[in-house]
Symmetry: C2
Subunit: 453 residues, 2 copies
């Protein structure tokens, strides 16, 4: 009964003439973005002229300057940098050699996992053991694990239709498996990349040592390399040789990049729209998350180009350090809390620049129902899914600290984990139309939240 | 009231336990395809080992043999070839040189439009006139058109969210514009490619001369080439030089490739699932329409692998000559009519191997409502749109001649016209997961139609 009442209230609050008017305004946003949008060109510059940009790197510093200039170019009323201290992790050189056939050592494509420590450039040669998953690992005796290189051959569950579900399932091998093996005296860990791709490209990504876990090396190998390694393991006892330089090198000063349109009626109330500026140190961080950054900038540009004067302040935030620390997301929320800023919505795009299908909602039920009542306005653009509980990593602290309602862009997920955190996440894999449609979805949500939240 | 009654009847005919059972069976289909599907590997062979395959070409003949073997490999009860006479159009060599700056002639990337006649290898040099669209062309005097090369600089309407809508709007320049110019004495026609891509890649595609239209050459240039040409036209009177060998070279024997699972209860009633085997003579015909062929084969393979015994005969048809004649589609319908075969559904995949979003329905309202009542079964797979009136070119004759209900797979359309009919339609642009999800959508529709149609 309560639900029915809510629906009735919403229907009354959102009459047909409002829908019609909004529909026309959303079409204006769409025409502007599809015909004159600059997000695709912006992404080309970020990815091709700067490239990958791990927190604390010189490229990340260049990306900060780029973001500042791009937000000014988009017409933001005010652009500024918010200082953030970020961890500096450096890969250095690295290699893995394995006895795939007989006694000879052959190289396998590999990447150390982010935040891990390497072999300090020394050769670590040990017997390798292969386990299909954590359950099998738990059954091994301590003697079987001690001083071995443990290969967790856990496969991404391709039968799950949402690849984010598959990611959630498999990503524990970057975290839990590494620590479990370390705690039981393993010498190093190899995981099958958290990847859907039928190729031999390794995917990196953050790991983290538990307080009681030795800082052993941890690396990922590509899917077909993992197939070969698993096959070799089944035939005989084999050894692996790992060499790597990677490790944490302290902290560095960096920045969130922020640009805003000041609200016409309630400038003290803020709507945040964002993505993260840092990326892993391979590929170009095109989908993860150059796309989110240029889409957030596009929202500002489009509002300005159409002379839309939002009631509330609309703020694009390019967060630093999502990948290996979330220092930017935390710094932004800390600052908002300290200043007593009111945020009515924070929306993030950090699931790739693919064709949009929905908007995830992490907010009270009443607000969710309000957003769902707008779904007829989104459907003509192929945006139909408002049933996922999804915000974003960088905006998470805003909810945690200040209870801010969160929204997350939900692009189609089929291609993301083919290239996520790998050398294949490059500009050429981004579709100009899909990227722009995602930007429209952000702009439309901001437009409606500004009017009705 | 009638609609309400229909809904009530359907709800009664499709109770919850059936939905639950079907849901489990569709999940089985999905698991089989996502984990063990061979469509992606099949597509690799078709595109990489055979490549493009215009009707009547040696490659098309090899594709027929490939299709026959693939359907046998998939486990079809019976595989056969259905003879079709197809037109043989041959491109030969071709070039376009234009005075982009001053008197010097510079080359532009170009492709003759399919089915057109060239310059018989001779150099055709004429003054070029540029018009933005047909309306502007209609305002020109006959003297302004006569013996000129007419450049129709009509742009794909990027603001339309469905690119098929944009295609429907722009594709008339391949047909109507060519004939209008020919009828008014133009020497040749150049069109801006029917392409959404921000690049200089020309897209071909069929044209056709009206009975009273002279067979003048007609070519397409890429989008950035068109931008250059339009800019040059605005500055001064310029000339273009066209040389091309293309033309119709008679007819050739070819085949539709057909494989079926014989129905357990009503073998004389047929469900067709298909794509087209021919492609244009550039690129690899990966999305258009290798994808549709391997998806149709995947339906057969999956039913066989899961020991599903359909009540009706399920028939995969790889149609020949969709691109420049539809001889295969017509031959299939002619044969079905001659034999008095009953078809309860024909479904085609010919809109690319992209992530599926819906199923187009060209069938009586009562059947549409039945399909729509299944939508809860499709939604977990991201398939939500059953509101488009879409079948397919090859199955069109089945409806026209025999009134067969039609369905068309509706993949996401954003990337299709970036590569359609161009050298960029290659295997690398196909996502293994998207292709398989499309195959699942076909299999699910066939499974449900077999049970409930």
């Amino acid at each position: 009964m309560k639900k029915i009442l809510i629906h009735l209230c919403l229907a009354a609050a959102f009459p047909a003439f409002a829908q019609h008017n909004d529909s026309l305004n959303l079409r204006q946003l769409s025409d502007e973005i599809m015909l004159h949008g600059t997000c695709y060109d912006n992404l080309r510059v970020l990815t091709k002229e700067i490239g990958h940009r791990l927190s604390g790197s010189p490229e990340a510093a260049r990306a900060v300057s780029w973001g500042e200039a791009a937000l000014k170019q988009a017409g933001a009323d005010k652009v500024w940098l918010q200082p953030v201290l970020v961890p500096l992790w450096v890969r250095g050189s690295e290699s893995l050699m394995v006895q795939l056939k007989g006694k000879e050592f052959e190289p396998l494509h590999m990447l150390s996992l982010g935040n891990t420590e390497g072999t300090a450039g020394k050769v670590l040669e040990r017997t390798l053991i292969c386990v299909p998953d954590l359950a099998a690992f738990d059954k091994l005796s301590d003697a079987e694990v001690k001083d071995k290189i443990v290969f967790f051959d856990y496969k991404f569950r391709q039968e799950l239709i949402s690849t984010f579900e598959g990611y959630g399932d498999a990503v524990k091998y970057r975290w839990v498996a590494v620590n479990k093996a370390a705690q039981r005296g393993a010498a190093a860990v190899i995981i099958r990349s958290v990847s859907t791709a039928p190729d031999d490209v390794p995917h990196t990504g953050a790991s983290r040592y538990e307080d009681d876990a030795p800082h052993i090396p941890a690396i990922a190998i590509g899917n077909t390399g993992a197939d070969k390694l698993a096959a070799a393991c089944k035939k005989r006892v084999i050894k692996a040789r790992l060499t790597s330089d990677c490790g944490m090198k302290g902290v560095m000063p960096s920045y969130n990049v922020i640009g805003e349109i000041r609200g016409a009626d309630e400038p003290e109330s803020v709507i945040v729209v964002g993505g993260h500026l840092d990326s892993w140190d391979v590929g170009e961080g095109a989908h993860d998350d150059g796309a989110g950054c240029v889409q957030a900038i596009e929202v500002i540009r489009t509002f300005k180009a159409l002379h839309i004067k939002p009631k509330h302040t609309v703020r694009a935030v390019l967060f630093m350090n999502e990948e290996n620390g979330v220092k930017g997301g935390n710094a932004y929320a800390d600052s908002a809390k300290a200043k007593g800023e009111r945020h009515i919505l924070a929306m993030e795009s950090d699931a790739g620049g693919f064709t949009p299908r929905g908007i995830g909602l992490e907010m009270p039920e009443l607000l969710k129902q309000k957003v769902k009542s707008w779904s007829p306005l989104f459907l003509p653009y192929g945006v139909y899914d408002f049933d996922q509980e999804e915000g974003g990593v960088d905006i998470g602290p805003l909810k945690k600290q200040l209870g801010v309602p969160l929204a997350g862009l939900l692009p189609d997920s089929q291609r993301y984990f083919d290239l996520h955190h790998s050398r294949n996440d490059v500009f050429e894999t981004v579709s100009h139309r899909e990227l722009k449609l995602g930007a429209w979805t952000m702009a439309a949500m901001v437009y409606l939240a500004d009017r009705y939240f």
